[in-house]
Subunit: 304 residues, 2 copies
Amino acid sequence: MSQPLINKLVVVGIGLIGGSLAAGLRQVGACAEVIGIARKAETCDEAVARGVVDRAYTSLADVANELGKGDIIFISVPTLSVAAVLHEIKAFISPEVIITDGASVKGSVQRAAEQVFGQVPAQFVLGHPIAGSEKSGVTAANPNLYKDHRVILTPFPTTNSLALDLVTAMWQAVGAEVLTMSVEEHDEVLGATSHLPHVIAYSLVDTLAQDIHNPNIFRYAAGGFRDFTRIASSDPVMWHDIMRANKTAILQSMDLFIDNLSRLRSGIENEDSDYLLKVFSRAKEARDEFTLMLAKRQEMIQKE
Amino acid sequence: MSQPLINKLVVVGIGLIGGSLAAGLRQVGACAEVIGIARKAETCDEAVARGVVDRAYTSLADVANELGKGDIIFISVPTLSVAAVLHEIKAFISPEVIITDGASVKGSVQRAAEQVFGQVPAQFVLGHPIAGSEKSGVTAANPNLYKDHRVILTPFPTTNSLALDLVTAMWQAVGAEVLTMSVEEHDEVLGATSHLPHVIAYSLVDTLAQDIHNPNIFRYAAGGFRDFTRIASSDPVMWHDIMRANKTAILQSMDLFIDNLSRLRSGIENEDSDYLLKVFSRAKEARDEFTLMLAKRQEMIQKE
């Protein structure tokens, strides 16, 4: 039997993101062993019972003595909890163990690492899988979650290139496509294309539930609305953390959106047909181009 | 062979909405004959070639002399074009022919009918099928479009009850569930649950395409965004008409949404964790209740 890609993988936080990576890597036999860390003993038991991990513990300290070369720690806790995990890691880590994470905001993880270690350690590869679900927790772990999805890694000039290569290979092993960009670009792009749409979806559902005083409002809501609000049922704590961690980029995107929406509001109020048709037509064009691009990407992936 | 439900059905505007009703009724044999009316001769030819209608003409005047008891005219043109069609109908209509429509806003159709006829004729049943697609035109006609979807009829005390019964039976024949409510309630509910989400989706896509100056912005947009913006690629003219026809209700909903979003913006700016968690949690609850309700409805439909 050939050597597995990774020796021990330690997944800190066995929810949707961490559990799905663990289950996916186990499924393709990419790790000698997959170890889970969760705060609650029940989560540990559930993760083992479901075959998401080989074994599980309630504290990172339980595995501190057995980690070395070829091992990876994957941090998949809500964004603002990454700092606390880095503190625990600092207590025992050797430079041979690779650290990586899956938090949705990379600037806040960079700042947390700088605070804990003085600078981002060369062995720490910051990353973000662009995949999710309205489900959360270990019961939502899905070995195929990352198949044909993108993972963005945000390495620094000081990042160890072997660490970067192994983390890249880890994501490719579960079927993901790996890209790299800077921390700043990541947070700006995700702020606009993911965090802004989530803020809007949450606010829309909240407006209908709280502000529109018609008890039938959800009763008649149609299919399009269902698609639209699916994303408003993601984990509230995760999204709370993202709002705080990527505050600057999100506020910028929100301001651009609120300006745009206010212009559209004026167009409706003033019955400005030219303006309305222009906005609706160019949104349709942009959306059609986006769909075409996705279709091409899908075709490329299938050809590979 | 038993008598079909409807004698002649005349569909004015053979696009997604009208073409799908025509194709659906032909499929179940509910009409003796289905006749299409479209401005362009090519659309007429295409509709006949695709089996969407039995025959087609470029003007309503072409069928004026052959309509009588048991016949229905279904108006499925963009909302603001309904008035012009009612003018043409007035020139030849007898009180025995039933008129109905599928426009997304009912207040503007009511006003158009009052202007053309002095009052809404007893034979005119205003209606709105809650179904759509990002596709449009006769090539998008789908006989199953209305299956398990809702149709809202907005009858008046003066509406002929036999006309109401036949239009109800017509929609049930293509698998739809028929509800009734007032014109005012329809426009308020649809303004909040359909028109507002469309305005938001158009504005979000436009913001990303126009206001965020990052050429990679669509390249990295993830799956959630795809769901979110699917509805921003509906027909621009149809949505332009809706914005003008339901202006008052849409502006009211937009104002409530913009207020809610501005409060959320302050919560993010002030790092008000309690507020953010409250909004995200109750949006998730509202959304989860909505999903449960849809599931129950689906179960009921399947039991029938």
